[in-house]
Symmetry: C2
Subunit: 407 residues, 2 copies
């Protein structure tokens, strides 16, 4: 597996009080790497989460949804190498058994255990390996760090992905760490985005849920590699309270604004890391849409551009093909008028008022497109709605990863 | 340009009374091939059409929309090599000038002229070449046939595409011929689907509009190569009445059912020909969805599968990756339940009741996927809604055509 040309170095991460990490090898595939992660949380840890909108979710996703409303977590279990998706009653039973084993090991209620799995679809999680794996990870608790945790949850990721942010809450510095996997893909697997956020801030679960949902809307919901939505996508945020900062219960609490901003910053970092590891990616593309009738409309136009195979192949070829951007705006079905539309690449306006700009010079655009980070700007000229989304280019690498094999 | 491996031979086509064909070289690109088509219709010819839903349509599309309501046509003008899309006032003025020239040559009102253009975007149609081209095509009227017309409207098509159907109306045999172009693509062009249907039946314009809309919903609206919608897609149907059959004015007219069925058959043939010439296509894929809550829901699920890059690359690789079909069903957002879902490849059921079938044998599926025509079947188990759509696989050829160049 070649490392993505858009990879960034693994960051230096602080430990988070109230978070103990253990990993082990369950052997979901014929490998010796760690493929089970167990994290033990301090008593009172708050949890919030967002999960895939797929109508065919994995049992782990279902269990998270069932357990999230009570808002408290004592354990997190993640399996890599088997997504357990579309595995019927056998898969659900295996997930339940692994969760019960984790609860017994940690001495807590089963509904305080949160689970996620990623990897091959359609093969039930092997129950014995799953239970033995989480038992071994429990024996290793405290020996692991976030780098080890990130390695244990990866599948076909070409580099480990984590990020860090901090905020002042009532004069106390709180740390936020996030780890994430996603976007590589092998036969016959399906990429799953799993993100886990840990903070030593104290946050009331209902408020954590609200600010995670808001941060998600501006980060994970704004990225696309190929427009295909996994059955298992899950982002969970855990707040242990170990920093000793005052508890954040709502927008009026000390540090609420700063913490929410740090959480959104962290989610944005993690989301862009996934795009940087998009299959076959050679360029990170930011699509900025302004002038839509509202923000939701701007988002749909931006995603239409970001998911267009023609736009993504043009960027791969370093081609300033603004006609394909026009096409993608046109097909979005959102309020737009050809003759008010303006398009930029980088800082260069290429088209406006429904036609190419007079005296258009492609040289600065070609220079921008030759870089590894590309910005496409669209102004619809209809209103004040704005959106920003991220994607990657579409290259032979994507085809090779996803078509050049038999499972 | 390599001919698509899915190409079919050009069919033998009857002449259609009331249709006179002329082609010429306007020279929209540095070539010597014909790139302007003029067709003269007998007086009284009825016309109906469907055009792109893009919010950024070409001026030719706008002119068609303005002229279609009156329902009568005397001329059709098609330019290949320049789509005239997103060209502002200059492009519209050139299209108007070419239409006025055609009307003067044919001695009819300008609003009886229908126009379409395909090719490079963002470059105004050169007015002088357009007028000279249509004048030369007028001088050649009567010398051309449907094969020549098909050749004149193609851009990066790898083979010429036409189809034929017939029906009995009041005891008189009427013929329907359709020609179509679309789906090839070169720098910095955008594919445009242009389809033209000619019949010697006599049909009242309002009824022609109704049955063309219905046929379109089951043919052109059911194909996708890459989910990208052109600014210029246009299908026009012309009925000259030259066969002398009784005029079809509504469903109660003699032969109305037979004629509508022939029209739908013809549209289906033409639509599948476009998919057969999809960029980089090596396999024609039919997606059949049953058991949806209604037909519209089934169509959206089918298009979600047909537009999924992961499904399309799996088929390219001959990989029976039903997990990706599950994913594409799940992301469609339509009513579905994992545990009622069944999936087939060809005639082999691979998954049902939310899991792989017991004793699943991949051999017959692999054999089916090795062929050049692949069927994916999905039963949602929710209701009686059905849909059928066609697409092609996603291969290195698509990337090569769309990314491996600089414009």
């Amino acid at each position: 597996m070649t490392i993505s040309p858009l990879a960034t170095p693994f960051p230096s991460l602080p430990a988070i009080g109230g978070v103990r990490i253990g990993t082990a090898t369950a052997g979901y595939k014929p490998w010796t790497r760690a493929d089970v992660l167990l994290i033990k949380f301090a008593e009172g840890t708050a949890v919030a989460g967002v999960t895939t909108r797929s109508r065919c979710p994995s049992p782990e996703v279902e269990l998270c949804r069932e357990r999230l409303p009570q808002g408290r977590a004592r354990g997190l279990v993640v399996n890599a190498g088997n997504s357990n998706a579309f595995t019927g009653a056998a898969g659900r039973a295996a997930a339940l058994a692994q969760g019960e084993a984790a609860a017994a090991l940690l001495g807590c209620a089963t509904d305080a255990i949160f689970q996620a799995s990623t990897g091959v679809i359609g093969v039930p999680l092997p129950r014995d390996k799953a239970v033995a794996g989480v038992t071994a990870a429990h024996a290793a608790l405290g020996a692991g760090d976030f780098a080890g945790a990130t390695a244990a949850i990866g599948t076909t990721d070409t580099f480990p992905k984590a990020a860090h942010a901090s905020a002042l809450v009532g004069g106390v510095r709180v740390e936020l760490v996030g780890i994430i996997k996603g976007s590589g893909m092998i036969a016959p697997d399906m990429a799953t985005m799993l993100g886990f956020i840990f903070t030593d801030a104290a946050v009331e679960p209902g408020f954590l849920r609200a600010i995670l949902a808001a941060a998600n809307a501006r980060s994970f919901s704004c990225i696309t590699v190929d427009g295909d939505t996994s059955t298992s996508d899950t982002v969970l945020a855990f707040a242990t309270g170990a920093a000793g900062a005052p508890c954040i219960t709502g927008w009026d609490s000390a540090g609420a604004d700063a913490f929410a901003a740090a959480l959104e910053d962290l989610c944005g970092q993690l989301a862009r890391l996934v795009v940087r590891d998009g299959e076959g990616a050679t360029k990170l593309i930011e699509v900025r849409v302004a002038g839509a009738v509202d923000d939701a409309s701007a988002h749909r136009v931006a995603m239409s551009i970001a998911n267009s195979p023609l736009v993504k192949t043009a960027i791969a070829g370093g081609d300033a093909n603004w006609g394909r951007v026009v096409m993608a705006v046109g097909k979005a079905g959102e309020p737009a008028e050809r003759d008010r539309l303006a398009i930029s690449f980088g800082t260069t306006r290429v088209a406006e008022a429904g036609a190419v700009v007079p005296g258009y010079d492609e040289a600065p655009v070609a220079a921008h497109l030759a870089g590894s980070e590309v910005a496409i700007g669209v102004d619809l000229g209809m209103g004040t709605g704005r959106a920003r989304v991220w994607t990657c280019d579409l290259t032979h690498g994507y085809i090779s990863i996803n078509a050049d094999y038999r499972s």
